[in-house]
């Protein structure tokens, strides 16, 4: 669906109105960040990538064919950049030193939880971040990810079960 505010802001931005792009940042940065957070699993990576996404959006705005569809376009840019980053990370992970660096960068208080979230597969992490961070319901997540409602519910369930298993690794009171 076309969005008139975006349409307007994109047109203004193409005319060189930098302030108009600030409107787009205000409106969409959160969604972009949530997607990056879900895909990357790390707040630092999400911050870096979401910023990169918004800057690319600014420099490439003329490539957007339908000005009213800024959000799907910028989310696609985000998805592609995250996939590139994940591919790079996979290569780098082969190096043992990387792991140490990654672990040293743990930013938030709940280390176990963050680590457990990062260990979830991406297809579980993305709906989880959308559910808890963006506070979207399953139906909206299904629409955004273009998957069925029941699949979203199933992924949320699996994510919870797997997180529980990861967080209670070594405990013996749970099966």
């Amino acid at each position: 669906m076309n969005d008139a505010v975006d349409d307007n802001a994109v047109q203004a931005c193409r005319q060189g109105d930098k302030a108009a792009y600030a409107t787009l940042v205000e409106r969409h940065y959160r969604h972009v960040f949530a997607l990056c957070l879900g895909m990357m699993g790390s707040v630092h990576d999400a911050e870096d990538l979401a910023q990169e996404v918004m800057l690319r959006g600014f420099t490439n705005i003329r490539k957007l064919s339908d000005a009213g569809r800024f959000e799907p376009w910028i989310l696609k840019v985000a998805r592609n950049l995250c996939l590139d980053a994940l591919r790079r990370r996979k290569r780098l992970k082969a190096r043992a030193a990387e792991r140490a660096v990654e672990q040293a960068r743990e930013p938030h208080g709940n280390h176990d939880l963050e680590r457990a979230i990062r260990r979830l597969p991406m297809e579980l992490r993305v709906p989880l971040a959308m559910y808890y961070f963006e506070q979207k319901n399953a139906e909206t997540i299904a629409t955004m990810l273009n998957i069925s409602h029941s699949l979203v519910c199933q992924r949320l369930r699996t994510a919870r079960h797997e997180l529980h298993a990861l967080l209670t690794e070594g405990d013996h009171d749970e099966p």
Partner: protein
């Protein structure tokens, strides 16, 4: 773990995200009662759910800083793009050959532009705009408003020669349908051809006419010219000096200067910013934008409306100002039966069942205002004939269910809702002038009773302006206990000279009276004499001021409610009970789908009112909401509800702040928040009202 446990654990997860069907809840409870493993699992999952919520909320807390960081990075990119341009320029200038070539090119371009301009260098500034707008034969505006993410389309045409005006607006509206609230398009047209006003409601396919007297037609033309110009460039006549030039920008092939003014609406606590794009070369206004910053929501500046087409002297489409009703539409009346209305006063529907019109008004040069008003009520409220009996020239006004009991004028700035001044001026003194109303005569025409009255200010107030703006005070005289408020629509009248007075009045009489003769006492001198007597009658102004005090308290310059002064404090227990009643009333309205009632209760929180409209169609459990906590201090209160489901997988509690004014509690802000975050809302309230008394449902049990 028995074989059932695996499927039960999926249900536990569903229950946590509120997606478990009610039918399965019982089976789950029964299993948990008998299975210690699953009970422990459920507890762990619930704890992890809480940890996840907190974890992501912590990440969320830094979003504003992250966004700012991105905006700063954007600035850097922008600057570096600009620097690249300068770097290229430096490279060109560093080489003698390219330097000479560039100089030749610049000179050639300047000469070419000069030729294109006819050898002149036109330079328009914003100060030229009022003149350009005044000289325009036609003005065409195309606007969009963006309330709550929705888009309202508006289009206006104004023809200064014929007095024709066309206004179209279209917006998405919510209506109660068989499956809850449904979004639909509502569109309206208002066409004015000078004499008639045709209102077309395209949604309900209805047409209604109103008619203007000759003097009001002239007033309409004058007011429309001002209104349309003010829409084209906000504050163009009074507040042009508040604009400053902030830069230039290119839109398509044209370069525009960008002018900005910014002020704060004290009452609503919002920042308002207007940007105007003006071509220095042609004087064309390329675009205007209005931005709002709702400080209390912390969303930053957001685009509220935009006018993207401002055409002067364009040819309107043929037949645009024709007042011919569309085929197939229901006619509520015809041009022959149309009510007479005034150009300077919008029909006021108050109290319920009554319509107040002002078909004719004139201001005398010494400040008094002559008004002819007419009230039409539903049959159950129709006033007894005796209301209009035994009235005398110069005596008190009659008391039909709605009476225009007096006027006020305000200098120094006021709130938008009082109409007469559009901008809040924080530095100006706020003074109110009262106009006492006295009866002159009554006329009758086609079952309508027209009351003629003179409204006189205590001091003589001469004005250089051709029109006079006041605020009409409507006083209800009905038995409904809720109709105690006095509402105040704006009223504009021509200031008329002694020479033209009789002419205008004589012209109006055939339309408003069966008896065409004008009584002798309606002469200019008689009215001046009466005004003098009114000014010298002891007690008249004191009485009127006392009656107006509640209205004026609502206009006080302090945006915070005048808590201590408007009503005596009541015991906190009683206040808590009253607050709960109001909040329960709101949720009952939402639960029962009474959209209008809910919107009315949320009228102080327009954004939330709109959001509530959206949620009402989805919420099935609003009827069971409990108010778990109330905090009360003097005439301020905060209510916190139990958690409830607003959508699948989303639970929230509501935190509602209320204020008590003249003994009545009204909702100021309504916030939905997660149960985990509601402490922040309560903390904010307690910072403002540290002595608040806390009542909790648990204590009461």
């Amino acid at each position: 773990m028995n074989p059932d446990c695996r499927s039960i654990r999926d249900r536990i997860s569903n229950a946590i995200s509120d997606t478990l069907p009610e039918a399965d809840e019982r089976a789950l409870r029964e299993h948990l009662d008998g299975c210690a493993d699953c009970r422990r699992y459920a507890q762990s999952l619930a704890q992890e759910h809480a940890s996840l919520t907190e974890h992501f909320a912590q990440i969320d807390a830094e979003m504003a800083a992250r966004r700012s960081h991105v905006l700063r990075a954007l600035d850097d990119v922008w600057q570096s793009q600009q620097r690249n341009v300068f770097a290229i320029a430096r490279r060109i200038l560093s080489n003698p050959v390219t330097r000479i070539a560039a100089a030749i090119l610049i000179v050639a371009t300047v000469l070419a532009l000069w030729q294109m301009e006819g050898g002149t260098t036109a330079a328009y500034a914003l100060s030229d705009v009022p003149k350009l707008l005044k000289q325009a034969r036609t003005i065409h505006l195309r606007r969009r408003h963006f309330p709550n993410g929705q888009v309202v389309h508006l289009e206006d045409w104004w023809d200064s020669e014929s007095g024709g005006a066309y206004h179209y607006w279209e917006w998405p509206e919510y209506k109660q349908g068989p499956n809850g609230l449904q979004s639909m398009k509502a569109s309206f047209e208002t066409v004015k051809n000078g004499r008639f006003i045709m209102e077309v409601d395209h949604q309900n396919k209805t047409v209604r006419f109103e008619r203007l007297l000759p003097v009001e037609q002239k007033l309409q033309k004058h007011l429309m010219a001002k209104d349309v110009a003010s829409i084209a460039v906000p504050g163009v006549f009074q507040y042009l000096d508040r604009y400053t030039k902030i830069g230039t920008e290119r839109i398509e092939a044209e370069r525009y200067d960008v002018w900005r003014q910014e002020y704060r609406d004290v009452e609503a606590d919002i920042g308002i910013r207007f940007d105007v794009w003006l071509s220095r070369r042609t004087g064309e206004i390329g675009r205007t934008r209005r931005w709002e910053n709702w400080h209390k929501y912390g969303h930053g500046w957001q685009l509220a409306s935009e006018t993207d087409k401002i055409e002067l002297d364009a040819e309107p489409p043929a037949g645009l100002f024709a007042t011919e009703p569309p085929v197939g539409y229901t006619m509520e009346n015809t041009k022959d039966t149309a009510d007479i209305t005034g150009a300077g006063f919008r029909t006021c529907r108050y109290p319920e069942g009554c319509e107040m019109r002002v078909p004719f008004s004139l201001a005398l040069e010494e400040g008094s205002v002559l008004i002819c008003w007419n009230v039409v009520c539903t049959p159950s409220l129709a006033p007894a004939e005796a209301v209009y009996d035994n009235l005398t020239f110069g005596g008190p006004l009659p008391q039909p269910p709605a009476a225009l009991c007096g006027l006020m004028s305000i200098s120094g700035g006021n709130r938008g809702r009082y109409g007469s001044v559009a901008f809040w001026d924080e530095n100006a003194a706020f003074t109110i002038t009262h106009y006492v109303g006295r009866y002159l005569m009554q006329t009758r025409k086609a079952d309508r009773v027209y009351v003629w009255a003179l409204y006189t200010p205590q001091e003589m107030l001469s004005s250089e302006e051709p029109t006079k703006e006041t605020i009409a005070v409507i006083e209800p005289h009905v038995t409904d206990p809720n109709a105690t408020r006095i509402v105040t629509p704006p009223l504009t009248s021509w200031v008329v000279t002694r020479a033209r007075f009789a002419e205008y009045l004589t012209e109006a009489m055939p339309e408003l009276s069966e008896d065409l003769t004008l009584p002798d006492f309606m002469a200019y001198n008689s009215l001046l004499q009466l005004a003098g007597q009114v000014r010298n009658t002891p007690g008249l102004y004191e009485d009127f001021r006392a009656r107006m005090r509640p209205v004026e308290e609502g206009m006080s310059s302090d945006p915070r409610p005048a808590e201590a002064s408007t009503a005596e404090s009541i015991p906190p227990e009683m206040a808590s009970g009253q607050v709960k009643e109001v909040v329960h009333g709101l949720f009952a309205a939402m639960h029962e789908g009474r959209t209008g009632d809910a919107m009315e209760m949320l009228k102080n929180d327009r954004r939330m009112a709109s959001r509530v409209a959206g949620v009402m169609s989805r919420s099935t459990r609003l009827g069971n909401i409990r108010i778990e906590d109330t905090y009360v201090q003097d005439n301020a209160a905060l209510a916190v509800t139990s958690t409830f489901k607003i959508a699948e997988g989303q639970s929230r509690c509501a935190v509602i702040s209320l204020r008590r004014d003249r003994g009545t509690w009204s909702i100021q802000h309504f916030t939905w928040t997660t149960a985990e975050n509601h402490d922040q809302e309560i903390g904010r309230f307690l910072r403002d009202f540290p002595k608040a008394t806390h009542f909790s449902e648990e204590q009461e049990r």
